[in-house]
């Protein structure tokens, strides 16, 4: 739409017909369509789209980070439900946002289709007849002593890639069709981008999860194994590519300031061709058949060994979520099957054990032990708090594995045991009932995103086409140049050649081009 006013002109008024409501309907429909496909409407819709995007950056968005949306609900309990009703937390998936871009694209189609037709005709047609008064054109000059060889003029122009037609004593030439071609390529490509995005959301899927190092903690590509996942509406859950990934090793190196320097994850992949190991990192995802695995984050998973009052030992690990750049981790480990009486085999739900804590890869030398001082494990310490009672896991309500159920603690069903304690790796803490907990050590974990988007290749190709088209439409210049031989004079064999030029689009350098073209024609004589 960057060309001059080439929107389709309004069709001639239809012949008067008998008034009737169906005719009125047609008239209303036609005028609405004309209105929708006008440049003014397209501009308004374009701006609406920009304005409608703003709340998407101001309000937290569910698809970007659900935790921030939950935080917003806590901070603004009255406002949040109202915003949710108008899709304030899902702006880019909301019906009103879709309405704007669909109307915009309808307007675009309504504009582009007639222009495609017109441009197809223009490309096939020959340059128009020479106007009667060449001296009225923006560029005009005359050449004396021309030999009258119009074919030579045409050849010169063709060499300069003009489209030329010779009629009687005149030559018409036109150039710069690339401008409109580029323009149309740009707009058609934008529609292709939209189609690619739609394909991606219908046929794409993704799953996120935490993966702890070690052969026992691998995962396979099925929805149950993800912490969070989303399937496009056209994806069959049973047909996800079958592969399994085990994290063998994760290395992270840091600057002395604690800023990360390099990450490297080494995994074993089964089910994607022969079993093989592969390395991947941030900016360098693991490409598997049918999906890519991206490294999003990392952290530590402390291992606890709990020996209950009956002497039974259980070992569990729990990934602690990093809460700052120094990898201070916050998390919880539950032992719901602790303190089962070996004689009766009965579980006492008031004797379940839970630990929550802060893991510090580099604990400060002095209390308070709240923040790690460095992201690598230079002086690991685990600040643990023990709880005994009902963990609330039997109610069947899904709960976070990174926190103990605060509701149970508030209700007094889960009681803190003693004070919090800082444990070094290998240290054991004996609780009041004779049971003990040992901080065995840690394993590293990574946060992964496994994704497949079949639309992204198409979107890239379309975007590149759009860019190429855009450059054609911005830098292409449509212009015409005309030559006419004056009637032969009886006294001389040479003739007067008149030339005129018309830039059809904004083109500051046309005067120079016109002059050099005429000069080239003159030299040939």
């Amino acid at each position: 739409m960057t060309a001059t006013d080439t929107r389709p002109a309004a069709p001639a008024a239809p012949p008067p017909r008998k008034p009737g409501w169906s005719n009125a309907l047609v008239t209303v429909g036609r005028s609405a369509w004309r209105q929708l496909t006008s440049m003014r409407t397209a501009l308004v819709l374009l701006f609406l789209l920009a304005v409608a995007s703003i709340p998407g950056s101001i309000l937290p968005q569910t698809n970007v980070g659900i935790e921030k949306v939950q935080g917003f609900y806590r901070a603004h309990p009255t406002l949040a439900p109202w915003l949710a009703k108008v899709d304030g937390f899902n702006v880019f998936g909301s019906p009103w946002f879709a309405a704007i871009y669909l109307l915009l694209f309808t307007s675009l189609i309504g504009c582009v289709i007639p222009r495609l037709r017109d441009h197809y005709r223009a490309i096939r047609s020959v340059p128009p007849n020479v106007p009667a008064r060449l001296d009225r054109l923006p560029q005009h000059t005359t050449v004396d002593d021309h030999d009258g060889d119009l074919a030579a003029i045409a050849a010169t122009l063709r060499k300069r890639r003009w489209r030329v037609v010779v009629r009687d004593e005149t030559v018409s030439a036109e150039k710069g069709y690339l401008k409109e071609t580029g323009n149309l390529v740009f707009h058609v490509s934008l529609m292709a981008v939209l189609v690619a995005v739609a394909l991606g959301s219908w046929y794409g899927w993704h799953g996120n999860r935490i993966l702890v190092t070690g052969p026992d903690s691998g995962f396979c590509n099925s929805l149950q194994q993800y912490d969070e996942s989303k399937l496009g509406p056209r994806v069959d859950e049973g047909r996800l590519p079958p592969f399994c990934v085990t994290l063998d090793q994760f290395e992270a190196t840091f600057q002395s300031s604690g800023q990360p320097k390099q990450f490297k994850a080494t995994v074993t992949v089964e089910g994607d061709g022969p079993t093989h190991t592969a390395d991947f990192s941030v900016n360098d995802p693991l490409r598997l058949g049918g999906a890519s695995v991206y490294l999003l984050g990392h952290g530590y998973a402390p291992i606890l060994r709990y020996t209950d009052r009956f002497g039974k030992t259980q070992t569990k690990e729990g990934p602690f979520l990093s809460i700052d750049g120094m990898q201070t981790g916050s998390g919880a480990i539950s032992f719901p099957d602790a303190n089962v009486d070996p004689v009766t085999g009965k579980r006492d739900s008031s004797l379940q054990m839970g630990f929550d804590g802060i893991y510090l890869p580099t604990a400060p030398a002095q209390a308070p032990y709240l923040r790690s001082e460095f992201p690598a494990e230079n002086n690991p310490g685990l600040l643990l708090t023990a709880y005994r009672g009902n963990l609330g896991l039997d109610a069947g309500i899904p709960s976070s594995v990174y926190r103990l159920d605060q509701g149970q603690i508030d209700a007094g069903r889960l009681k803190q045991v003693g004070e919090g304690k800082l444990l070094k790796p290998g240290e054991t803490w004996t609780l009041d009932d004779g049971s003990s907990v040992q901080f065995v050590g840690t394993k590293k974990y990574v946060t992964l995103s496994v994704r497949h988007d079949p639309g992204q290749g198409i979107a890239l190709i379309a975007a590149v086409c759009a860019l190429v088209g855009l450059m054609g439409s911005l830098f292409g210049k449509r212009r015409r140049i005309f030559f006419r031989l004056a009637s032969p004079s009886p006294t001389s064999s040479s003739r007067l050649l008149e030339a005129g030029g018309l830039p059809r689009t904004d083109y500051p350098g046309f005067a120079e081009e016109f002059a050099s073209t005429v000069a080239a024609v003159r030299e040939k004589t």
Binding site: L43, V64, L137, Q255, Q262, L502
Partner: protein
């Protein structure tokens, strides 16, 4: 090297300040007629094509001014241009020495980004100065913008030289951020004539309160408008490539999706739409040039919002600013 870079930044800022003062002197002591008269004569001839739409033809550079300006003014103008070029050299050297100090491309955080984008703007302005000598005195506004942005960079955004975080350690930094910095720098220089065009056309309509009173000493409105359009048309494809093609390719390999409505992405999209709206509006004869240019100015405000607002107010994946 890091200390040299910091020292050169101060030199650049002082240089722009000095250039600003020299240009201000040209305005203050120069005879007010010169510029205006040159501009008048330089203004475009409007012609009507045979049966076609009105065709505007731009007649190149103006010839020598009719009245020779006082020697003092010429002298001030030359000094101003020279000081501005020196400041630009110091600015670019500051950027390069920072790159040498960090052994990497010097646009890995917000401070360096502003330094890189304003360096591009400086180069773009020097190109305009060489090709359009008649517009040279607009250097006042360019120097002003540079002083403000470099001041913000040096005083608020400054972070010591350091290595890149792994998220930025990719060759896409060279492609994506470079393209975005180049287009931002050119948009910045395009914004200057766009804003001045609005002032000038307001002045031409008889408004003479500040800031329209500045219009008295500005080149003809169409000259400003055309320069602004050409700079925007130059920057827009680079922006499209940098923000909407290279950015998504990198986002796919770093974050797993090519587009995810991160606040920075949202505002890059908004800027693109607003500038696209400007190009459409300018190509539509029924839309007034002032309206179209107003859209371009709005586009630059969205760029500023993306650079400062998004880094300061929102947290997202592009939080490498160091704020």
């Amino acid at each position: 090297m890091a200390a040299l870079s910091d020292a050169l930044l101060v030199v650049a800022m002082l240089g722009y300040l000095a250039a600003m003062i020299c240009y201000a002197a040209v305005y203050a002591f120069g005879d007010r007629g010169v510029v205006a008269r040159v501009a008048e004569r330089e203004s475009d001839r409007e012609l009507v094509g045979a049966g076609g739409p009105p065709v505007i033809e731009f007649v190149g550079e103006p010839a020598v001014p009719v009245a020779t300006p006082p020697a003092r003014t010429v002298w001030f103008g030359r000094v101003a241009a020279a000081v501005l070029v020196l400041a630009a050299v110091a600015q670019i050297s500051s950027l390069i020495s920072r790159g040498v100090a960090g052994h990497r491309l010097p646009w890995g955080n917000m401070y360096e980004y502003v330094l890189a984008a304003t360096s591009v703007a400086a180069v773009a302005w020097i190109v305009v100065m060489v090709r359009r000598p008649a517009l040279r005195h607009l250097g006042l506004y360019v120097a002003l913008t540079q002083v403000v942005l470099l001041g913000v960079a040096g005083l608020i955004l400054y972070v010591p030289v350091g290595p890149l975080v792994p998220a930025l350690d990719s060759y896409w930094l060279a492609i994506h951020v470079t393209a975005v910095a180049i287009s931002s720098g050119v948009f910045l220089i395009a914004f200057v004539p766009a804003g001045l065009f609005l002032i000038k056309s307001g002045y031409d309509k008889g408004r003479n309160a500040f800031p329209f009173s500045l219009g008295e000493r500005l080149p003809a409105a169409d000259v400003l408008e055309r320069l602004s359009f050409r700079l925007h048309a130059f920057a827009f494809p680079i922006w499209t490539f940098g923000a909407l093609i290279a950015g998504p390719i990198w986002a796919e390999s770093a974050w797993g999706r090519y587009w995810g409505w991160d606040p920075k992405e949202v505002w890059a999209f908004i800027s693109w739409i607003v500038y696209a709206g400007y190009l459409h509006a300018r190509a539509t004869p029924s839309v007034k040039k002032t309206t179209a240019t107003l859209i371009a100015v709005l586009g630059f405000l969205t760029m500023l919002m993306n650079l400062f607002g998004v880094n300061i107010f929102f947290t997202g994946l592009h939080s490498y600013g160091g704020l």
